[in-house]
Amino acid sequence: MLRVENLHTFRGRIHALKGVGIHLNPGEIFAVVGPNGAGKSTLLGTIAGLYRPSQGRVWFEGAEVTGTAPEELVRRGLALVPERRQVFQGLSVRDNLLLGAYHRYRKQRESLEKDMDDILTLFPRLRQRVGQAAGSLSGGEQQMLAVGRALMARPKLLILDEPSLGLAPKMIAELFEAFVDMRKSRGLTILLVEQNIRAALGIADRGVVLERGWVKVEGSVSELKTHPQVEVAYLGRYAEASASPGGPAG
């Protein structure tokens, strides 16, 4: 489905990805975890065409797509829910969702209403707010909208940058359940960055730990869950934390 080889990306002067390789099989849920500044968002952005890699290649469904523009990739079935939500602030919730289906609007106009209804059922909160300007939504509501908008594109590969960010626990559970359903019902493949590692590893099949632009650990979820480094640093199962936040970044 997706193959990434030896990806190098610079953000300004910062060498954010230093040779990352991953691959996703169709229908798989793949998790990327790692500390702040590891390059997770950069990885997703590079795959989705937002940033140009300085080296390395990306294949999607067997075709090379390195450096292809995001507007092109979404037509091919790859949708990204970016960091920081990025909703269309001045447009209503409804318009935001409709625009999610921009690339298939002409051909499949009839199915849009139904898809939108499904999404509003998944996020009842959004249904209550459907006419409101997206920019005035609460943080969590915007997050739902961002995910919903990407789903409106009916992607084959859904890429999510911290989808649980700002969502209430109940909502996270429901959302992740929905992801599993969609994988089952339409064979959706999911690439997911999560800080809520417990939730992520709960639904993922495989994953990697990214640190400072490198893949530190790679494997199936059960391998990751028991990997000592993952345990200590990310699942937080250690007795006494030192009294300063920030993590091993920088």
Binding site: G12, R13, I14, H15, G250
Partner: protein, 345 residues
Amino acid sequence: MIRRGPLAQLYPPSWPAIVTVGIVLAVIPFAFGPYVLSVLIAVGLSSIVAVGLSLFIGYAGQISLGHAGFYGIGAYTSAILALRGVDGWATILIGMAITGGVAWLVSRPTLRLEGHYLAMATLGLGMILNIIMIQWTSVTGGPSGLTGIPPLTVGSFVFDADWKLYYLIWVMALLVIWGFRNLVHSRVGRALKALAESEAAASSLGVPTARFKEMAFILSAMAASLAGSLYAFYLSFVSPSTFDAIASIEFLIMAIAGGVRSVWGAPVGAAVVTILSQAMKSVVPALFPSAGGEYSILVFGVLLVVILLFLPQGIVPGLARGVLTIRHRWTRPGDSGSAAPGGEG
């Protein structure tokens, strides 16, 4: 390389640049004739306006298309009062006071506007001031303006020759640059930059955003007024077309071409724009003898576009970044975590 403390890395001292520029400017009259002086005087006057503008635009994050109006208030106040026998220096201060007052009066409602609304409102303000200059004939002399403004004096020393005004104007300009640079590298400057980026966050930290914006506006208007007064004493003549909307836009071009996020951007922008448009007048006809004045305008426009396409942050920050990149390549090849320090030259 001088090793500097970390704070000096953030806020490098301004005196080295000021002294260097001051020395260079001081010797110019000995090397060049009055034409060069007159161009540099124009640069100096525009610098004062543009420095104020760049505080208001680059630091406080606002926009003004009306500063020529304030420039005009200064010029007309000095002209009108000096013609009625008021001491020249006093007219400068009175001009700044009036300008400050006008700016204060209009700032309340105006600065509540944002972005393009603010641009339009300040454009309107400038145009209203300009119309007053044109129409209040009994005081301003109407469209053809006022002539015969007596020169500034100190005791028996009269500022009547270009070189004298040249020194006066540049001493003032460097003072203003020094002051604004102090300002941006201070608690006040930080607060301005902060409110430009997020008013919500700035106010949540105790910055009275409305008042700081007003102060920045008033201060930049007063700088323009100072320049206007000096202009009046230099030309001994003022007329309204000098202070129209186009003039406001020209000041804006200078500030932005030089780089509004750097205090030195303003004088550099003023110099580049003034000297370019003057140089075009000599260069274009020399290269294409058949060309008329229209070519120099055209070439000037092209150069403006090219400069900003290649140095979108403006000349000074653009060049500074270039220098840093080169130095960076030399000293630390390959990857490195730390980017350039944010302090500007």
